[in-house]
């Protein structure tokens, strides 16, 4: 299956994963998955539970080491790079289950995302006014405030992360991922467990992050309405294999996809 329609927008390749295979003992989670992501794409990965979607994201972010295949980011291989090194290259992610520092304020949680961008170390930080640490903190605070404005979380800026509602914590997590200044943002079920209104909001933010901030997004999402509305491209995984990768409307019409994911009878097609 070729992503033929996506070729109408010739853009540089940002991420190229080829032949990604991942096994845990006897279980093979991913079997030779190829995926090309161009700059500015908003790509959704869908598939039934256990299809390997999160594993695939974990391979990109460096949490898992694939047992086969390789990943190139902006033309260079990142197979041997650590998670933090990949973050420094511009790959950020959010988690399916929340992973915030519950006892820290929202601001501090987001500032953590900028840690790798801070240049002042322990010593200069100690000489707050003399060492330039104040200036540095102010410029980072400004960026963080822009993110806060984008995600409309002004009112919880100083709240403790652990006290927030689930939907708000998801937003803070997204804010932290944005603070990394990513070129590629990996979102693992950004709307899971949200009500309709919260979903509408998050969908709007994702579109703005992609279209206006120019950040490439790979998103795992189950809500087909959201996937079809937002994505430029949809890749479908089933039992660790990629079975489709095309424009949303073509993917939803694909009989194999309907059989695997939407639960329709393959024979009928």
């Amino acid at each position: 299956m070729t992503p033929s329609a996506a070729e109408t927008k010739p853009r540089d390749t940002l991420l190229e994963a080829s032949g990604i295979t991942l096994s845990f003992g006897g279980v093979t989670a991913l079997r030779g998955v190829d995926l090309i992501v161009r700059k500015g794409d908003l790509l959704s990965i869908i598939g039934p539970n256990g299809a390997g979607k999160t594993s695939f994201l974990n391979c990109i972010s460096g949490r898992y080491r694939p047992t086969g295949g390789n990943i190139r980011f902006e033309g260079q291989s990142i197979d041997r790079r650590s998670t933090s090194a990949r973050a420094a290259l511009g790959i950020a992610r959010t988690f399916q289950n929340l992973a915030l520092f519950a006892h820290m304020s929202v601001l501090d949680n987001i500032m953590v995302g900028r840690h790798h961008l801070l240049k002042c170390g322990f010593l200069r930080g100690g000489l707050y006014w003399l060492g330039g640490a104040q200036r540095e903190e102010l410029s980072h605070r400004r960026r963080v405030e822009e993110i806060i404005e984008l995600l409309e979380i002004e009112q919880i800026r100083h709240a403790t992360a652990g006290t927030l509602s689930y939907g708000m914590r998801k937003r803070v997590e997204l804010a932290r991922a944005l603070a990394v200044e990513p070129k590629l943002l990996l979102l693992d079920e950004p709307m899971a467990g949200m009500n309709l209104e919260e979903k509408d909001d998050i969908a709007r933010y994702i579109v703005e992050i992609n279209r206006e901030w120019g950040i490439t997004v790979i998103m795992i999402e189950h809500d087909m309405g959201v996937v079809m509305d937002l994505s430029d491209r949809v890749a479908v995984l089933n039992y660790g294999e990629k079975i489709a990768d095309d424009l949303p409307e073509r993917v939803s019409a694909d009989p194999h996809v309907r059989a695997a994911y939407l639960g329709e009878d393959d024979a009928a097609a």
């Binding site: 605070r141 400004r142 405030e145 822009e146 806060i148 404005e149 984008l150 409309e152 002004e154 009112q155 800026r157 309709l196 209104e197 509408d200 709007r204 703005e208 279209r211 206006e212």
Partner: protein
Amino acid sequence: MPDELATCPRLLRHHGRHHADEPALREKALGIWQEMTWGQAYARTRAIALGLRGLGVGEGDVVGFVGQNRPDLLFTEIASHAVGALSLGIYKDSLRDEIGYLVGHAGVRVVVAEDEEQVDKLLDLGDAIPTLERIVYCDPRGMLKHEDPRLMAMAELVVQGSALHDREPCLFDRLVDATRPEAPAILCTTSGTTSHPKIAVLMSGPFLNHGMSYLEVDPKGPDDDYVSVLPLPWIGEQVNAVAHFLLSRIRLNFVEDEDTTTNDMREIGPDCLLLAPRVWEAMAADIKARMLEATPFKRFLYAQGLRLSERALERGRRSHIGDMLLGRALRDRLGLSHMRSAATGGAPLGPDVFRFFRAIGVPLRQVYGQTEMVGVYCAHRIDDVDFDTVGVPFRDVEIRINEPDRNGLGEVVVRHPGMFVGYFRNEEATRADVRDSWMYTGDAGYLNARGHLIVLDRMRDLAKLKNGDRFAPQYLENRLKFSPYVGECVVLGQDREQVTAIVCIRYSIVSKWAEARRISFTTYSDLSARPEVRELIRKEVAAINDVLPESQRIGRFLLLYKELDADDGELTRTRKLRRGTINERYADLIGALYSDKRDVDVDTTITLQNGRRQRIRANIAIETLIEPARSAASRSATVEAVS
């Protein structure tokens, strides 16, 4: 007023020249209060005005603005006056069709919209608003995807306006000199309690003159901070954020977001403030609810402090111990530490809430007015506050009571030189409300011996029980709403045997109450159907009944399965009840309240805020506190008929 200061643009020019480096306003953006001087405010307004001029806006055109209160929207208003146009403020939470009506009716040519949300509503209207030529947006966020040729960024408008100023440096001065105090300038929508809003036309000279009469009663100056929270299109905010801003140079402060208001207000510590009664009520209810959760020691301090303060207040004094125990801390917490002049207006405020704020040292006073009469024209003098009245009229204001009954109660009729000139493109409505230059307000009230005006309710809302006893539903509703558990309620009883009520619980507080008692629930509907909650509200109602005269007591009530909402047309944008809609929509429930039924089945759909519809099926129980006399009579009648 001297001629060079007789219109809004002229005043701004004066301040821009003579107070160029003094702070005029602040706006919180990216978490920081950003200050703007009079010089900057003047320059920006000039650029917007010339930008509008470049778009062809001139004498007699209408410029609309819609969005959260922002400096640029305020400047837009003054800028449109400068080029001879009229300004029309549109509430930011107006629905698409409401905006369509206003834009169409007023023939608006340019709308300045705060953000994408407002722009979307205008674009959705499509061809329905043919007069609209330009949509200027302030926040570029989310605008990339739109390609409508009418769209234009505020930044672009300002660039064009500045360029025009560079080419013709005298043009703006000429335009401002040409503004006339007796020309229509401000279009102000009335709250539209009944149907489509009417648009009152105000002239800038009389508008400012009336602002001066207000300042005589409630002086303000350049050292005063004002937080602009109420919607800018509302007349009350127009008087404060436009007239008083320009006349007495109070500093305006614009909050970051609606949700950050409490915190932002605390940071500013405003000196003067005007809030709607429901905001004061919500504040008081919130304090009460928080005290329910506080430690016993804090509750003790609260109770002692409040008792001392209230006792002192009754004797017209202040309790220093009460202030130390409670008042000072509470004022600080609410951001009211510097408060010199606090006002409530738009609807009656319950005396209990009033007493509470006065007791904790907030110099709260009631003000009263109408959009047509340039907002407030009656207010308490600061040393003469009477909870039951709305105060005494300003200088130049004449009030008489039309067709008073034997107690002096009748329709409030009023006139003053600053009042509106008529409704915009609505001669018929003008003729109905204004006769021989007197405005017939439709409010029922009377003047007491000390010259204070007392307003009970709308004339047509004053209700009469079947036996002829009069009662004021709003007054009862306010009493009910002082309970922290009651969010909204509707009191009924016109031509009926007794007074009844439809009550909406205050979800934020009742849900906490329920959680603390391990009462499980899912949604608002579910929570309001819990028998424990019904019992809770029953106690609240019974407590209020205890202090009411017999004819006013609430006999039966039920808990509604949803909150009353402006989007459903049940409330106005300033959250007044739309009784007609409510009576119609809940006719079944009201019928049940006046029957022998103990419960009523409901099967209906409600519209959620995002436009989706949800079906609700429920069985609503009706609580009876006082058995209506009628049922006994009718039952015996049936028995007779059978025998």
